[in-house]
Symmetry: C2
Subunit: 344 residues, 2 copies
Amino acid sequence: MRTSGNFIQVPLINDMHAHGRKGELMERVVYHHGRRCAHVLFMPNTESPILTPKDVEDYRQELRRNCRGAIPLMTFKLLPSTSPNEISDLAAVGTVAGKFYPCGVTTNSSDGFSADFIKEPTNQFLAVLSEMEKHSMVLCLHGEVPDVMCLAAEKEFLSFVEFLVKTFPKLRIVLEHITTKDAVELIENYSKQTSNLAATITLHHLFLTFSDVVGDKLYPHNFCKPIAKMPEDRDALISAVLGGNPQFMFGSDSAPHDRRNKECYACCAGVFSAPVMLEMLVEFFDQHDSMEKYEDFCHKHAMEFYGLKKITNKVRLVREEWRVPYQINGIVPFYAGKTIKWRI
Amino acid sequence: MRTSGNFIQVPLINDMHAHGRKGELMERVVYHHGRRCAHVLFMPNTESPILTPKDVEDYRQELRRNCRGAIPLMTFKLLPSTSPNEISDLAAVGTVAGKFYPCGVTTNSSDGFSADFIKEPTNQFLAVLSEMEKHSMVLCLHGEVPDVMCLAAEKEFLSFVEFLVKTFPKLRIVLEHITTKDAVELIENYSKQTSNLAATITLHHLFLTFSDVVGDKLYPHNFCKPIAKMPEDRDALISAVLGGNPQFMFGSDSAPHDRRNKECYACCAGVFSAPVMLEMLVEFFDQHDSMEKYEDFCHKHAMEFYGLKKITNKVRLVREEWRVPYQINGIVPFYAGKTIKWRI
């Protein structure tokens, strides 16, 4: 189905993976989510990480102040030292998910899980997952093995995902921001036997390939973790999004960094897609003659997997070309300088 | 052999691949070559390219003014439109080599040779190479196929090198700045049957791997074309340099870009190694207990392959740690912030 006419109304997004940052940076970025989203699952790898029930409550307050329209969903950061005893208190304050970060694979993850740990997880960690299972908490995985070449790091992580699915059949697991054909196939295969394994797919991984990051030049604003892969991987992601399997849902992984931390000696990983995500998703589904799939991927699959309350508010877009600014509040957004056909 | 004592005298470098730039930028960079080199082969992909005998003579004058100590060796830029008639006049002004740039693979190469051309070179181009062969000009190759993923682009180019070696057995050919185990093996294999195929190896490819460019963060100052590859490729390059095969010679590919063109939206390719190359080469050979190989790789192999005159001047280094500055005349040098054990 393709749009006709110059207006369209679509459901707000449920963005199941976003970086809200903290303090002054949050004020500059989170309002983009506010006007485009019903729910947003905010990641806990902030400058001071979200570890305790108090962290969760404080961060939720800060997010609510800055992200008025959208409902923030809270996560905590799993560490190798996390104890099973901590889970019930985290669950009691409404923490939706625990996020697993391999060591050094992305922003603020140096305290994460090592490659050795992933090969041989500790009993303490398995007990933590049992507790999460018991409290209906979701396990969110950054799926890359540390110290593996960036193009191979996700693929190597998949056996760990299989181990977890088999060991904790009642634990809901989300493999975040998948980028490879292999990950798509894993999710599709397991979807025949369980509805407890899902994956988020970003906006930018539907558009970028590795050559858009490392091409004739180096493009820091397209650099994220996991890095965009080969054209066949991107095609597999597009097929997954259009295919309608409910185990694929939207997670922007919008990850703003100040321009000075992107255009520098050592450029941070992260694509800031929040200011364009809804508009580009509409354009994406429209161009693929699949507007009827927008709601499933951007809203409904997440609602069902996470058991979110139904939000019926819609957002109205007009068919009007606009050029994405080169900078918004000191941050370069995804698709800067390019033209989008729909405007809120 | 390892150095002993606190002083060492080594021959000046013959750098068989360098970017001297033009105008104001040349004034800021070329003096580093001046004090470290006997001969320098300067690349012709300048902002206005070196195409004609007049270009060659003008550029040589400009280089001589700025690069006092070292003797500039001149190249011209081969284009798909280059005519066989142009070669004798270029040879008459002492042009040493013609440089082949695939389209879009590096700085100022958008007018280069397409992937289709590389698959099926024109008769005109083959006639140009015949003329170069006749005038004892060297063919220098940037060995990457356009529009191929950066990690595979050099390997895919190698069949073209083989085609050229077989078609023009008397043409001296240099595969520039090789980065892969495959390229090392190709050169070694052909060295058993001809001395007309050689390769240059840079300083930075002896130190960097792909993860130093695309790692936890993105490192624009380590980004060059061809991009640094896997650890096993770097090991093959190190073995080639230490192995003593005369078909391997030094070419820095020192390629300065203003800091603002490296730390930006679209970062230029090129590593600026000129300010540290001699010092780091001494350290490299010293650390590998192979000081006796320094002269072969950095001076003699090029002298023999290119038929350069013998320069006996030496440069004296003192064993004294120094930290490479973060910026030299507005350009970030290779190894910035790190410590080198030898100082000129």
